[in-house]
Symmetry: C2
Subunit: 512 residues, 2 copies
């Protein structure tokens, strides 16, 4: 038997043991749950008003001249000694109104473009952890090969629509150039939109230029149809970092999308009550939104919220808590108040992939959905308050996200689904297993989980008594085995390689 034939036979045998992972198609998700009003309209106005008072009376410290000049030119009070910018409410509202309520991001594969705004909902991969963990290799500092695996999983699982800013930090690569390696992985191992790094204009511009190369288009064409988004943090309370400001400006100038997210932990970066945290979050987020519109009116920009509480006994951040859920819902009310797309997260604080990780994630997820979130960032793989990306948690999250999407399918009520004939066919106390109505539909009638085990106790015990977390290990391994890279024309992939090589040389030589 030749090698190829043997391989084919082995593959068949493997298939017969483990059926391919079953999942729905990659598709846009419309959030069919009506947004919940956690606060009354009057209460939202009070928070809005307070946030504008913060900007007018206290202002934001801005560590970048150009950003200060832009605000000054628009009429804001700028204190050159302290770097404090105090825009009045008329200025704020005038420029917030210039931001679009909805926009589209287009990656190299146009079929995977995403709409951001309205009732559209997209799920993003975890972003940022310095550590990675899985049941086989344990918890460890993240490396580039872990990064690549996480991108492969995001590409494989159709419920993930968007890649965040560095799924993990690949600590085995030099900090100055690793953004090039991660962009390259995003563009060759997946065909999804992604977040660029906006710590400084060079990193942002590299991401934009590489998306243009992957799409085979000019920067002008990319400005017409944006393909990436730059996440901008705020050093809460009330400080706008210089590198972040310059990253934001570079991104907006090139017509790409911006996401402004204050990280406002109640009791630490804000005062301890929710209304004050939301007012401060709102002031900081809107300040960033206005900066994008000062650079280039019409820049697509997302209102980001990341308000939760700390454990007041230890100061440790906590996520997926009742306070975090309230903030997820109420921040959506604020974003809609301004007609801005809304981003939040389904974060959790657990140190392991256990019941706490699941219930905290579900709390945050349901609240994000009821808050009308358009982007749920860190939707798959986040663990330990964001310090670890977990392969098992990613599978757990995929299951929860798939189920959430299934609950949003529009319901159909008609003669076929009401099935009076089927009811008439089954005697009282009987069962519907063999009914034609059942037989015609049983394979597709219900959602099929990838992770949940519904077998009875004895069957489950005989099969090894595995917890959901145990099973998740087999699932991500199978997903990586079944993964295949997207198609990218050779000339584009070569252009990307050349870009990365040239920029690495430049950065090594000049530091820029």
């Amino acid at each position: 038997m030749n090698v190829q034939r043997r391989r084919r036979r082995n593959a068949r045998a493997r298939r017969s043991r483990t059926p391919a992972l079953e999942q729905g198609p990659w598709r846009a998700i419309e959030n069919t749950f009506p947004p919940v009003a956690f606060y009354s309209a009057d209460q939202i106005e009070a928070i809005h008003d307070s946030s504008l008072s913060i900007l007018e009376s206290l202002g934001i410290e801005v560590l970048d001249d150009r950003a200060r000049d832009l605000f000054a030119a628009a009429g804001a009070d700028v204190d050159r000694d302290t770097g404090t910018v105090r825009p009045d409410r008329a200025l704020m509202m005038e420029y917030v109104a210039k931001a679009p309520s909805r926009f589209r991001l287009t990656p190299s594969n146009h079929a995977r473009a995403i709409e951001i705004g309205g009732r559209d909902l997209v799920f993003g991969l975890v972003a940022g952890p310095p550590n990675v963990s899985d049941a086989e290799r344990g918890r460890r500092p993240a490396a580039m090969e872990d990064y690549r695996d996480l991108i492969r999983l995001a590409q494989f699982f159709n419920i993930i629509h968007l890649i965040g800013n560095q799924a993990v930090a690949p600590l085995d690569l030099p900090a100055e150039t690793r953004h090039l390696d991660t962009y390259f992985a995003n563009l060759t191992l997946s065909d999804l939109c992604f977040h660029i790094s906006a710590i400084g204009p060079a990193r942002a511009t590299d991401g934009i230029a590489m998306m243009a190369l992957a799409r085979g288009e000019s920067l002008e064409a990319l400005a017409e149809r944006p393909g990436v988004v730059a996440p901008i943090s705020v050093n809460s309370p009330r400080r706008f970092d210089g590198e972040m400001a310059r990253g934001l400006i570079a991104t907006a100038e090139l017509g790409q999308a911006v996401l402004v997210t204050p990280f406002t932990l109640m009791g630490a970066m804000t005062a301890v009550t929710l209304p004050t945290a939301l007012a401060q979050q709102n002031a900081e987020a809107l300040f960033g939104v206005v900066l994008t519109q000062l650079v280039r009116p019409g820049t697509p920009v997302i209102y980001g919220a990341f308000t939760s509480n700390v454990d007041m006994r230890t100061g440790a951040p906590a996520f997926g808590t009742p306070e975090n859920a309230k903030a997820n819902i109420a921040s959506g009310q604020l974003a809609r108040r301004y007609g801005l797309p809304y981003r939040t997260s389904n974060a959790n604080s657990s140190n392991t992939v256990d019941a706490q990780a699941a219930y905290e994630t579900q709390t945050a997820l349901w609240a994000a959905v009821l808050g009308g979130a358009n982007v749920i960032y860190h939707a798959a793989g986040w663990l330990e308050g964001g310090l670890t990306a977990s392969f098992e948690k990613l599978v757990l999250d995929v299951e929860m996200l798939q189920q959430m999407a299934e609950m949003m399918q529009p319901p159909q009520v008609d003669a076929t689904t009401l099935a009076l004939d089927a009811i008439a066919n089954v005697p009282t106390g009987g069962h519907f297993f063999g009914e034609p109505h059942t037989m015609e539909r049983y394979e597709t009638a219900f959602y099929h989980p990838i992770l949940s085990d519904w077998s009875n106790y004895e069957t489950w015990e005989k099969a090894g008594a595995q917890s959901a977390t145990d099973r998740a290990t087999g699932i991500w391994k199978q997903a990586l085995a079944e993964y295949s890279p997207p198609e990218l024309p050779a000339d584009r992939s070569e252009a990307l390689e050349a870009y990365v090589a040239r920029r690495k040389e430049e950065i090594e030589a000049t530091g820029l």
Copy 2:
């Protein structure tokens, strides 16, 4: 040192090692989340209409003469050969309208009365499993001492408002008399309302008589202010069991509350699509509701829903699924269509207290809340699709229920919570830890979990790297250690003992 003093010192030492479990007070919960419309008003009308067609054209098989007579006397078509009762829609709507939209259940401790209906939400203890499990003693057939411990935990945890019909089946006691032992445990180890067993009139009457003794009141007084509820199942599809019918009639005659719950697993007891399952559930539930009103107009009655799907590969029931969630939301629309209080469950199918148990429970719980449930049955302790009551799962559920209740606290927005002064006091990029506004509130500002661990990874690892499920074991043991029984006057407790002794003799002698 005398024994008492030594005990006190030991207690103090124990306290210093492990602080007492912290929880909020026992209180009524108002559901502040607006109910979600999964189906449009037209779709709900179509399901309603289909359910009345089922009753008119196919009917319900009723295995009890008296129940059939009651329907016949009201004008329903009754086929005496087959036992089929076919009430028309006018009859159904006339009698459904007689049921109250809201009522109160009063236990021996009047401070623990519960309101059922409107926006009130009560959480019930798991009910019915033949098995029990915990991490120390494993999974085993349930015994009376397990039953008592579960009642103690329901009494201890203030988030539990209501005891279901037998937290577990105490298999070490004779089936004919064990209801007496469980009622006695409910009434002496707790002071909560509970579900009686309504398999036959004698079991129902025993529960009602014993609640009257515990309240020190007559049966007439109990009829004025009901104290117990009888859960009535339907043998879906479309069969009303004789013992259940007689239990329902006895309960309604004595003015106590009834809960009618068809157990409608899509693909097994109903056809495979959700609208047909809901139409059948609706027909069966309303049929039971009407029977209560035929017996005694104004009988308090709850619309129960238990619609989920089976795993079509194995036929095993599945809970906490997307289909179950949709049913939890839509059933609330139906119950409100008739102005009836609504009961559903936060069930799950996991075989162990893992991430699946948590995410399925959360899915069902959020959907129940968004469905406007008034009673969430099996809210604490349910595992394995209802075949096991788990001590660790009970703690996990208490945590999730407490958090849900916390999210329903009415929000306050005012100058104090907006805290503009506190923001002004903290420099840009600073922190709020030491601020007077923080210091005055830090102990009470946020929800305190009983189970969640928010410590950082290193601290968590040093403390033993316990999962939430591991920690839950310590918590239920501590709760049992801290538990103290409610006060019941000695004469009432003696009257209860005498009642149980007399009835056991009667049942042994006569079987009734």
